[in-house]
Symmetry: C2
Subunit: 220 residues, 2 copies
Amino acid sequence: MAGRRTDTRERAQRVALQLFAEHGYESTSLRMIAERLNITKAALYYHYKSKDEILAAVLSDFSTAVAGLIDWGEQQPPGPETRRELLRRYAELAASGITPAARLLQENQPALREQPLAAEVRSHVVTLFDLLAGPGALTGANGPAASLRVRLAITALHMAGEESELAEDGGQELLAAALNIACGLIDPPSADSASEKRAHGDGRFGGPFAQEAAPTPNHP
Amino acid sequence: MAGRRTDTRERAQRVALQLFAEHGYESTSLRMIAERLNITKAALYYHYKSKDEILAAVLSDFSTAVAGLIDWGEQQPPGPETRRELLRRYAELAASGITPAARLLQENQPALREQPLAAEVRSHVVTLFDLLAGPGALTGANGPAASLRVRLAITALHMAGEESELAEDGGQELLAAALNIACGLIDPPSADSASEKRAHGDGRFGGPFAQEAAPTPNHP
DNA sequence: GTCTATAGAGCGATAGAC
DNA sequence: GTCTATCGCTCTATAGAC
């Protein structure tokens, strides 16, 4: 491991992730990747046997990161503190540069549909969402709001993570703000929509559209 | 207008928007569009002189919808009621099917970079964001949180809009929940992050990461 | 308005020299 | 480990018949 002769493989993965996230998987050609590495297309095939394998290598980093996060979360007692700490750790991941991978996954679903590792990562994310909102939130069993809030919380961290790369102070203020927003989004689970119980007295959330909220005709 | 001989052009735009949003602009070939219309690739070139022109036609519908929304908004007195009504109207647009166009715009930025109409639409969206958060929010002048909250509010409506197409009741409950969440996101503008004033007493938003919040080193 | 046929370019991938 | 050269395919776009 320590004594290999070139670092092309690692550089290739860094460059490929960046390009996949920026231009999309299908629109990123092997020529583009090779040019940034100052090698030729054919040389890439010494390191990977297909374009798909480059994608898999890139995704596996993200997969293990999220897997580690949910391993920790599943060993904690469920509750608001654990959920907030999960968000905090995810914000750390976002700050350390996993957001390109997250964006790649989110914005290339059709292209990644045949990629087994993408399905694996996606199932990890589903587990993480369940931990953040209670089981079944993604399928809408807790009402539509809970699932939406969790996805928005993660989205907030992604947005901040991407922007923080451009910020002059490393984006710490931005990430702090995003984490606060994310915590606020998952903190009062099922506090609006059909069940109208308010966490605190003022009616600020009683927006329009709400008068139509039906008593949840879920398929049992 | 009323007496043309085929409806191929309109059908083509409907189909193209759907495919562009689902597979991405570059990954959608004219062959795919033509096959769904039961015509050939070459026939498409009778109606449009390039693939880019199909994209422009598809985007212009979205552009006029958003332009109408901000025209209304700019004639209203600024304030929370106007902002909430803007969100409500945007939620109506989302429910009526503009989310594929919004997704197309958001998820194909590199491919649409050369498309003039895309820049126009994007500037409309920026204006809408300004209306929703006060001027300068997108550039972060109000602190990082305000811009994030507005973008998350719109994202909530997009998420609900896309899912509502699959729901059995038209997704009204989901859209109502999303609108409530969106209103809650923009309602207390600049209520966290650096300036720590709370709208109401409980410290639920006082999350971690906040201890590092610096006093906003903005470039003036 | 729609078709067949084709030009010209870029793509992923392979073979084989060095 | 990297190169040149090439194969087979799909893409956008055009020419011209019907």
